[in-house]
Amino acid sequence: MTVSAIEFSRLGPPKLHLFAMKCDSCGELSPWWERNHCYHCGGDSMQEFELKGTGELTNYTVVYYPPREFLGQEPYVVGHIQMDEGVNMPAPVMGVDPDAVEVGTRVAATLRRMKLGHEGDIYYSYKFVVDDE
């Protein structure tokens, strides 16, 4: 799970932008890591599609045994979030009581430190918080 700075620049996670991939053939959205191939139609050309950042929690788990990068943050909630634009993706949900998480909660994206890359850089990306607007 540690990546070099070069690899992170090349193909890493969404970093500072939250986006999905939109298929040139069928127009369906896939999560941001599906850069090469559309799982819906088999198409091979995808474009970045910016997401507003709001969505709904459709599923969740609470992690008690974290990977290295999340050590110290457990227990934390990882949810499946159906973004308003239609794509479903996993992401951590912060600031919710693990015993009180509810499917159907509206959530909004915010910026958090994700991990220290093993060349010392800090990788930021999106986690979600309850959307109280």
């Binding site: 910016e50 110290g72 943050q73 912060m94 910026l111 430190r113 930021y124």
Partner: protein
């Protein structure tokens, strides 16, 4: 005349028990703060700035400049303002200014924003002071962020006008850090004298340029309501009720560059059309005072609720979370 159009704040939800921390190090005396607002492991000055800015911006994107003021940027070589701008999806080409500031930084940023001619300017003060061992009980290390949008072109929609500033600086060896040292050094005995001298002089100077007595402000928003500061202000006629709404250091600790920002957010939340706020910041021997006039009652962002809400964490948790931070970027 610079116009304030919106503001936002972020206070981390965790509170470390200062009293227990002091006991742990055998430091005498009553803790000067009930708790220390402690950023979580996945937070830092950039993420806190993002949260405060998100609240202030509410979808607005056409910013011409981003100015950040902090003592604890995550990166050397890479600007906090630039990274924040990218995270907020601002157009490239915005002017990015990083102020490596002490607690006066926010008001320095306001001064710059007043003179920039690039359209709406986002000003964010964000800080996470981490000090250690025998220092921790003296410097009330905590983290928070406050964001303001300044737009001279939007007088009609503005909520306040930024008035004149007055500055006073004294040569004082109260708080200092050498170069990129990890921890501040300070002399408490000098600190309190310098507080009193500089803040009173700055406030007095403002009385002259604005012709408004200190006692006539609706609210005084100080970065640190130290007793010496309050004594100095009292000599100028300030009343306790002017400070009622804006006190927070006793709840969550000193948040460095964000302190005067939080005080200002508290003042704005409680204000109405016509209210006058005196922003008063002190850092490293210098004090800056600024007059702010509220032109339209702002919708409260709930700064007091953010301060009052808080999840207690144990002493051990506080150390686990902050221990590495001195070696790592904050």
């Amino acid at each position: 005349m610079a116009v304030l159009t919106s503001y936002g704040a972020y206070v981390p939800q965790y509170r470390a028990p200062l009293g227990e921390i002091q006991k742990f190090y055998g430091r005498p005396g009553r803790p000067r703060s009930r708790g220390l607002a402690t950023p979580g492991l996945d937070e830092d000055t950039l993420t806190m700035a993002f949260e405060a800015a998100r609240q202030a911006l509410k979808g607005e994107r056409g910013l011409g400049a981003v100015i950040t003021a902090t003592q604890a940027p995550p990166f050397g070589l890479r600007k906090l303002s630039q990274t924040l701008g990218r995270a907020l999806r601002l157009d490239d080409g915005a002017v990015n200014i990083d102020l490596g500031a002490n607690a006066t930084g926010l008001l320095d940023a306001f001064r710059i924003a007043q003179t920039l001619d690039v359209g709406p300017t986002l000003v964010v003060a964000t800080d996470h002071l981490v000090s250690y061992r025998d220092r921790v009980a003296d410097v009330l290390s905590a983290g928070a962020a406050a964001a303001f949008v300044i737009d001279p072109g939007r007088k009609a929609e503005g909520i306040a006008e930024l008035g004149p500033q007055s500055r006073e600086s004294v040569e004082a060896y109260d708080v200092w850090m050498l170069g990129r040292e990890q921890e501040p050094r300070f002399r408490m005995e000098v600190l309190f004298d310098a507080y009193a001298k500089a803040t009173s002089a700055a406030a007095a100077g403002l009385e002259t340029s604005t012709e408004r007595p200190t006692a006539k402000y609706t609210s005084i928003c100080p970065s640190q309501p130290h007793p010496q500061v309050l004594r100095g202000l009292a000599k100028l006629g300030a009343q306790p009720k002017q400070l009622e709404a804006t006190q927070f250091v006793g709840d969550i600790g000193n948040v460095g560059a964000a302190s005067v920002g939080l005080a200002l957010c508290l003042g704005l939340d409680a204000s109405r059309k016509g209210s006058t706020l005196l922003a008063l910041a002190y850092g490293g021997g210098e004090s800056v005072a600024q007059e702010i006039t509220v032109t339209r009652k702002p919708k409260s962002i709930g700064t007091r609720e953010m301060i009052d809400a808080g999840e207690q964490i144990a002493v051990g948790t506080y150390y686990r979370w902050t221990e590495g931070r001195q070696q790592q970027p904050h």
